[in-house]
């Protein structure tokens, strides 16, 4: 077997090996991804479940939250709250660092978290209750 044949052999097998190296790395990336997803069930960062409502949204409906979600009567809001006591742009939910914060957007009737009036950026935990007028929404961990 001359050196050229040997070289070609080695390069051929190295090419095939590189293909499998790539697949192995991809498989590792996919596995890590799935593990991370199962450790952290927040496929979405969180969701709002409607537990009491004046008009719309209907009780029981669920909103998956973006990192920045606005609430209000305005139809452009992330979560439209059709409530006589809701302002057009009422409140904003933001995910910062590792948790949720709610801010009142200078609404007429204010925003309550677990019954307390919100001033400034107020942290919200999963399970806390947000109240706008007669509408009550519970913040829950998102499920992928």
């Amino acid at each position: 077997m001359d050196s050229l044949t040997l070289t070609v052999w080695v390069i051929r097998l190295a090419f095939l090996a590189a293909l499998y190296l790539f697949l192995a790395l991809v498989a590792r990336a996919l596995l890590r991804d799935i593990r991370a997803a199962s450790r952290d069930p927040a496929g979405a960062l969180g969701r709002l479940v409607v537990i009491a409502s004046a008009n719309f949204p209907t009780v029981g409906s669920v909103f998956l939250l973006d990192a920045v979600t606005t609430l209000g009567r305005d139809l452009g809001s992330g979560v439209v709250v059709d409530d006589a006591f809701a302002s057009a742009r009422h409140a904003i939910l933001t995910f910062r660092g590792r948790g949720w914060y709610v801010e009142d957007l200078a609404s007429t009737n204010g925003t309550l978290v677990n019954g307390d009036r919100v001033t400034g950026a107020t942290p919200m935990g999963f399970g806390d209750e947000l109240q706008i007028g007669a509408t009550r929404l519970r913040l829950e961990r998102g499920i992928a």
Binding site: F15, L16, A18, L19, Y20, F22, G120, T122
Partner: protein, 463 residues
Amino acid sequence: MTGSALPGFPRPVPRWRELGLLAVVAGALLLGGLSLGTTRTGRLALAHPAGLATYLGALAAVHVALVLAGRRVDEVLLPTVGMLGGIGLLLAERLPQDLVVQRVGSATLGLASLQLLWLVLALAIAGLVAIAVRSDRWLRLYKYSWAALGLGLLLLTFVFGREVNGSILTLDLGPVSWQPSELLKVILVIFFAGYLAENRVLLADARVHVAGRLTLLPAPYLLPAALMLALALGIVVIQRDLGAALLFFSVFLCLFYLASGSKVDVLLGIALFLLGFAVLALVFATVRERVATWLDPWADPLGTGYQTIQALHAFARGGLLGTGLGAGLPAVAGQLPIPAVHTDFPLAALGEELGMTGVVAILGCYLVIVSRGLRIAAGAADDVRALLAAGLALVIGVQAVIIAAGNLKLIPLTGITLPFISYGGSSLLVNGLVVGLLLAFSDRGPVPPAAPRRAHRLGRKKA
């Protein structure tokens, strides 16, 4: 509102995983080029270094564009597609260049140059779509318009199309011939995803009781989707594009199962498909001939069975490790053994030169694309996006399976392309679009900003 600055320019987000995988892709493709060049010239040489460099440069450019755009999109899809496209480029470089010759301006381009051109354009489309598409509203709001556009395109081919190999598939647009059925597959996925997501509650609840635990869907809810499917299938069948028909139907069944979760309906769909196939075989001689060739290609070894037999021989010659790039495909009397090797039989050529090991790796890449698509679907915020992501990934996966199985004589051969590897402008560009949309739908949103340094605690009096 807090005083966070409006982002005039997005902040770049590093994508180390993608960069690492792309480096492995580059290494593998360089080894492949080295293997091909060395086999060909008899000394250590890289085949077509300029083309390989251009391709890797294009991949790197898309990577940099995604980093600069600062969107947190999937990091595995681009390298996987890059690997498949690179293997296709090596194959195009390896085959005789006069298989396809096209004049572009004053230059005459051969197979590899054209493939490189299409690949770079496809990557550009994927990158642009991944960066530009921020919302799927324009897809879901106008689903009927998209459907009409797709059917119109097909009809256009029907009227103005050019007949190639007994099928009317290509539309000549200036110097470029275009196969609208490729684009139609994307449009159908958009339509079905929008339609099924909109009616998902109905599909799950409004069922007609038949007998025992067997319930079926009431027909009226399915009518628009069924009508659309029938129209698409009808036109495609009249055009003798059986591969596309099989692809459309399989993807529809997959999406339907994802939306409704009903196994009975899917089994019913498969039964309907087999019935339809039997009718087609009775009506069209082409279909009968395809099936006969599939069952026994040796009945007419120099005529209809020729390509299939040559493909089987190619796989057999390849064995486990293959003959090596550039060492296979001995010409018979100066002719290529498989005339359509660059479009319909690339897997046979790769099976000969890379062996079963290489073919399994290539099929593994398609599996990665499908699994990524389903993962994106599982993480999607709403049903439309989930069905879109799953459908788009399945279009690529199912198409690969159909043509791979056809090459291996597992199912009757149908003339569709092996995604990202086969030569063909429309196929590459449309698959680039699919990858771009998948990337766009995988966006995980902006990086959450850091926690505010002084948050007001509930129930604590301000000092």
